[in-house]
Symmetry: C2
Subunit: 331 residues, 2 copies
């Protein structure tokens, strides 16, 4: 299709996803070529890709973490209802990731590519565009390709504002970093903390912010570090529920009670959160996968696809958050 | 290949997996046909399947539960290291399951089929065999096809014997049923409980056995039912950690302490178990997926594949189990 339109696959992909940096004449030529080819190849598929394989490639960094499984579940449900086969690629470590973006195994094997829960840098995005099929992302943004995700800044605000509203002023943050995943995401969740405190007129104490690799064990260690401060926090905001549960474990082991001594809140509404009575900010994960599936199917049918869908998050108050024991400032 | 050997695909599949009910002459004919075809089709693949697609179909009932994600992770790691593509099929509800076994979407699209963590009845197995490629199972057994799993009876014994060894005599069981999954599995875990008690000379009280659908909420409800007995148990054995964690939640909410008032043990060593200090029987899940992947690859290369691999489980003693408060019999 790109060849027929006389443009590069990347340009064709951008044109079909209504990228702003494509000249109108080019866009028209690409759409025309796409339409011509589709009428030949398959009346059912007339959109982002050729529709020749009947398969959609799904790329994930992990499979055993809850978010990825739940998002994949929603995505696969949509795609299989439309009789599309799912080709699954797992990036694994840095080497496997480099190999994936170099060899592009999904090329000619799938009609579209979905990235689930991780971001790519510009070089990786450009390589991916060489596959010449539609790209859709869930849980992250990839250039101007159609994507669905939460507003990480808003989610962080919901969590920190809840702690502020309860009267907490000395609020710790357990910030997670995962070089494999979207580098932008922890940034937004951290910025939300700083902004919420600033808006409430609370000064930022750098000692209250601990960065750890994403894991419950990371949360457990970070909580230990916060408890070691001469003036420890009365409440802790963790970037994810699994990290928050690790923090609660440390509190329990040191004989402190949640929320009487320290309040804890996470983000996600992981099934674990309900089980452990953890307050959190819920995000619809199955639904993000399903929405990505709908975007792929619409693209393959040549229907318009929204560039950015943001699914709402909401505060879920459970038993791990309460007002501080003593008025703020008198700990 | 089955056609060339003049046998049904099911017979061919059985012959290639060294099923005992295949006549030696038939077996030889099938292997010869397989070899002839493979020499034509691909020098690299000469085993259970034709090796023409380079893809392996993986069938799962769930994606967002930990066991399935972890097993899939191990399986995909093996297959992608051998440059095989993974075609993912999720069964979903009963309708989707019926459709899958009727339409056999993996037919002609994959060189082998892997069933992950669920059993099939005889009719489903026979339909699957019509695809005419090798079948491998992980976490369950499927006829005499190569499979890898734990010994569920042994795992159950490890859990219940631990409670007996601590001195418990009034031991409850939270038995889980999941019609979507292997009907045999809860059976073995339940039989282990009855056998362990009988071996210890402890009578079975039917009131101490509660059956619930698999879920943490099921575990929470079952624990409530056990606590409502006039003579409640001093220890509880749950068929899985996620169910055990639900039970612990009920104990905490009713003000009881674990393990002081009631000991709780599960099976799995779910990451949650370490986080919540739950004693359990650990099973290697990633490893079962990886072993299934090795079985598939060996089969595709025409190498011998073991019919049944049993991976060992082991007791992990954490803080949720302790001796009963009072000597047994005087509660």
């Amino acid at each position: 299709m790109a060849r027929r339109a006389g443009v590069s696959p990347a340009t064709a992909s951008r044109a079909l996803s209504d990228h702003p940096h494509v000249a109108e004449a080019t866009r028209a030529r690409v759409w025309e070529a796409a339409r011509e080819l589709e009428y030949v190849a398959s009346p059912e598929a007339s959109g982002l890709a050729s529709g020749r394989t009947g398969r959609v490639a799904v790329v994930v960094p992990h499979l055993s973490r809850w978010w990825f499984g739940a998002a994949l579940e929603g995505l696969v449900a949509q795609l299989s209802a439309a009789a599309k086969d799912v080709l699954l690629y797992r990036l694994g470590d840095a080497d496997a990731r480099r190999t994936f973006f170099t060899d592009l195994p999904a090329r000619r094997r799938a009609d579209a590519v979905v990235l689930l829960g991780f971001g790519v840098d510009d070089e990786e995005r450009e390589r991916l565009e060489r596959i010449g099929v539609g790209i859709v992302a869930a849980g992250t943004r990839v250039g101007s390709h159609p994507s669905v995700s939460i507003d990480d800044h808003a989610a962080g605000r919901q969590a920190v504002d809840h702690l502020l509203n309860l009267g907490h002023r000395r609020i710790g943050m357990i910030e997670t970093t995962d070089p494999e995943l979207d580098p932008g995401q922890p940034g937004h969740r951290s910025a939300a903390y700083r902004r919420a405190l600033a808006d409430a007129g609370v000064g930022i104490d750098p000692a209250l912010v601990v960065s750890v690799p994403w894991s419950p064990e990371g949360g457990a260690r970070a909580m230990g570090q916060l408890l070691g401060l001469s003036d420890p926090p009365t409440a802790v905001y963790a970037h994810s529920d699994e990290v928050a549960v690790g923090a609660v474990g440390t509190l329990r082991r040191t004989g402190l009670q949640v929320p009487r001594d320290v309040s804890v809140i996470g983000i996600d509404d992981h099934p674990l959160a309900a089980l452990t009575d953890l307050s959190t900010v819920a995000q619809p994960v199955f639904e993000q996968g399903a929405e990505a599936g709908r975007m792929v199917l619409a693209g393959l049918l040549g229907e318009p696809v929204e560039e950015r869908v943001t699914v709402p998050t909401h505060l879920v108050i459970r038993g791990s958050t309460a007002p501080p024991r003593s008025p703020s400032g008198e700990s």
